[in-house]
């Protein structure tokens, strides 16, 4: 993979009600060359994420008074904001994780997390942002067209807004139509070879993808489930 045209810095929005953590994250990512903005409340987060064009949002779940992280996430997605969102959560049960993904988050990191772990997530986003030189022509299968370079997807000519994870998943599935891809492969397609991720996250993203692409999401024609194994994309 060529990284020649990959930008080296991202605009990151940090949302956490704890001052020290905001400071630490700002410092850590600034040092990597990213530009970081940190806010404490849900309202500010919604306002800033809507106004500034961020490449990634690190969003805490518990934000004191006002909207919590899930609500911020949902609001942003309702505003058709597809910025990659990584939830920072203190809860590590499956239900809590799924709640974040359902709200539209791309991924979650459980506190206390290592900065290295968080950086690997951000790097995964970095690798894919901006136009790239090689092999980035559009793929068209059936009604779906995916343009890697412009990060655009259309269904029957109509543009569809996909989140970061949804786009990466679809791109991976469409790169080898008809081939069965298991959840681990799909996870790698989004986040690269970083730490272990919850494969169930894929199921949530796939469901969101179907809702956006399929005519009848409950009877998918494009993205098929292979029970117990994974998913494959096929021309209907």
């Amino acid at each position: 993979m060529s990284t020649t045209e990959t930008p080296t810095s991202l605009k990151i929005l940090v949302v956490d009600d704890e001052e020290t953590l905001r400071e630490t994250l700002t410092r850590s990512f600034s040092r990597e060359g990213h530009s970081v903005e940190a806010v404490a409340s849900g309202q500010e987060a919604i306002a800033r994420a809507g106004a500034g064009h961020f490449d990634v949002v690190l969003l805490d779940v518990a934000l004191g008074a006002g909207p919590n992280g899930y609500e911020v996430c949902r609001t942003l997605r309702e505003q058709r904001n597809v910025v990659p969102i990584i939830m920072l959560t203190a809860l590590d049960t499956e239900a809590d994780a799924v709640q974040g993904l359902e709200a539209g988050a791309d991924d979650y990191v459980t506190k206390p997390f290592g900065l290295a772990e968080l950086r690997s997530r951000v790097r995964a986003v970095l690798r894919r942002s901006g136009p790239r030189a090689l092999g980035r022509e559009a793929i068209a299968i059936g009604p779906v067209t995916l343009d890697r370079g412009r990060r655009e997807v259309t269904v029957d000519g109509k543009p569809v807004r996909l989140t970061f994870s949804e786009f990466e998943l679809l791109a991976r599935l469409m790169s080898e139509p008809g081939r069965l891809l298991n959840r681990q492969e799909l996870l790698r397609a989004i986040w690269g070879d970083s730490a272990y991720r919850d494969p169930r996250a894929i199921d949530v993203h796939i469901r969101h993808l179907r809702e956006k692409l399929e005519q009848r999401p409950e009877e998918p024609q494009l993205i098929l489930t292979v029970r117990g194994a994974g998913y494959r994309f096929q021309e209907p």
Binding site: D16, E18, T20, L21, E23, T24, L25, R27, S28, R31, D60, V61, A62, A65, L88, A90, L91, D92, D96, T110, K111, P112, F113, G114, L115, A116
Partner: protein
């Protein structure tokens, strides 16, 4: 199969059927046998009455003087009189027990009534009655025109048997119908009752299996005991669910409060480590980070202490109950704070702490450790929000049968909607400006106070109407005079 027999339905059915059957049997016994006797004695008394009323007429029958005994016409006349009144077949015998009249029957065909007739002659006026072959035989000495005769009246008692038969048949039919109704009623009752009980049983098993998440029991409007049981169960389930929700909220908040400082601590140390490794160490920056890391770890240990206090409270660890002097205790706790303030260089800008001890010693019955902890919580809160150079006042004294300690500050006070909320776990007042605490102190304080039979409340009055501020009052039971220390 044995299990089936032990079930509620067969037992209920058996009980209903048995009750109906026994009731009917007892009723039948109580009715049928007396009925038969009654009918018989009725028959007897009819005949006897007839005899009695016939007497004067019989006496008037003129007997032909020649023979001195009844000739056939006279006997027929007497018989007519008797028959008209008694509706019975009759035979008349003379005192030698010769048949003088036998109705239309030829004399030799007359059944043998000598035994009864002889006894009637012997007993005199009292009648002799006997039932033989379902026939009532009644012999009575009578006087016809001055001489003794015996009249034997016989009456078939078939009507008694048939009446009893009719009643018995009616009874059996009623019994059959009754048992059928009992059976149907029993099945219906048992089925609905069983269905409701089974629903309750399933719900209980579900609760056992899945905990408070289990599906809610459909409402049972029955006003009987099963309905009550079902409602009690639903109430219990709702309570468990609320507790579970509260527990979850607590765990969620506690883990956020614990893990967020851990995350920043970890991050700060990681940055520091990076700096040290890169050998481009900015000493000032590193010092700042170390200070900040220490502050975080102190915060964490405070939280750990609070959480431990809470779990100890939740585990209901026993509290002591002994007399303690509240004024002395307030002074001691205030002294701790003053020592800490002296150690802190920024103390100069902090609020003062004024303790007003009571004029008389104020004895409370409580756990000294717990009371000291509550006072610490109140003072810590007050000092944290009090403006610089203002004073936080601690006042001790008796009040309406309580030993009371009040802590007043000149801070921003507590807005009306939060007055009760601030006593809940992880609830911080909005006017604290995000200073320090975890929102656990007042929750712990109130729980402790309640445990000791006292109260911890936010009073309406601050210093004066012109000055806002919070005023918290801890009320504890007063110690009884001359009471030694003990434990609960």
């Amino acid at each position: 199969m044995q299990g089936w027999l032990l079930g509620l339905r067969p037992r209920l059915l058996a009980a209903l059927l048995l009750t109906s059957a026994v009731t009917l049997a007892v009723a039948a016994l109580a009715l049928l046998s007396p009925l038969e006797q009654r009918l018989r004695s009725d028959g007897e008394s009819t005949v006897l009455t007839a005899l009695g009323t016939a007497r004067p007429e019989l006496a008037e029958i003129a007997v032909e003087p020649a023979t001195g005994r009844l000739n056939e016409a006279e006997a027929r006349q007497a018989a007519l009189v008797l028959r008209r009144r008694s509706q019975a077949t009759l035979t008349i015998l003379d005192s030698q027990l010769d048949v003088v009249y036998a109705g239309d029957e030829p004399t030799q065909n007359v059944p043998d009534y000598y035994g009864e007739a002889r006894r009637a002659l012997r007993t005199g006026k009292a009648p002799v009655s006997e039932v033989r072959d379902n026939e009532l035989i009644l012999a009575q000495r009578i006087k016809i025109s001055g001489r003794h005769y015996v009249v034997v009246l016989t009456k078939r008692l078939d009507y008694v048997a048939s009446a009893v038969r009719v009643v018995r048949t009616a009874f059996l039919e009623a019994a059959g119908a009754g048992l059928l109704v009992a059976l149907l009623l029993g099945i219906g009752l048992a089925t609905t009752l069983l269905r409701r009980l089974e629903r309750l049983r399933d719900a209980t098993r579900e609760l056992e299996r899945r905990g408070p998440e289990a599906e809610e029991l459909p409402e049972d409007r029955g006003r009987d005991e099963v309905g009550e049981l079902t409602r009690a169960f639903a109430g219990m389930q709702a309570r468990l669910r609320r507790q579970e929700a509260a527990r979850r909220a607590f765990v969620a908040t506690a883990s956020h409060e614990l893990r967020t400082p851990l995350a920043s601590l970890d991050g700060m140390l990681e940055l520091l480590e990076d700096d040290l490794r890169s050998e481009q160490l900015d000493i000032e920056d590193a010092r700042e980070r170390a200070t900040s890391a220490r502050a975080q770890s102190r915060r964490l240990s405070r939280l750990a202490a609070d959480l431990l206090d809470l779990s100890r409270l939740d585990a209901e660890v026993g509290l002591r109950s002994e007399p303690l002097e509240l004024g002395e205790l307030a002074r001691a706790v205030a002294a701790e704070f003053e020592l800490a303030a002296e150690a802190d260089r920024r103390a100069a800008s902090k609020a003062r702490l004024d303790v007003h001890p009571p004029a008389q010693p104020c004895w409370a019955q409580a756990d000294p450790g717990a009371v000291a902890q509550i006072v610490r919580i109140l003072l810590d809160n007050a000092l944290r929000i009090a403006p610089a150079d203002s004073s936080v006042e601690v006042e001790v004294g008796p009040a309406e049968g309580w030993a009371r300690l009040r802590v007043r500050d000149r801070g921003p006070g507590v807005p009306e909607p939060e007055r009760e909320l601030i006593f809940e776990r992880f609830q911080r007042g909005s006017t604290t400006g995000g200073h320090g605490g975890f929102g656990l102190g007042l929750a712990i304080g109130r729980e402790l106070a309640t445990r000791m039979g006292g109260t911890l409340e936010l009073l309406d009055d601050g210093f004066a109407p012109a000055h806002p501020g919070g005023c918290f009052a801890l009320c504890l039971p007063e110690a009884q005079e001359n009471e030694g220390s003990g434990s609960v």
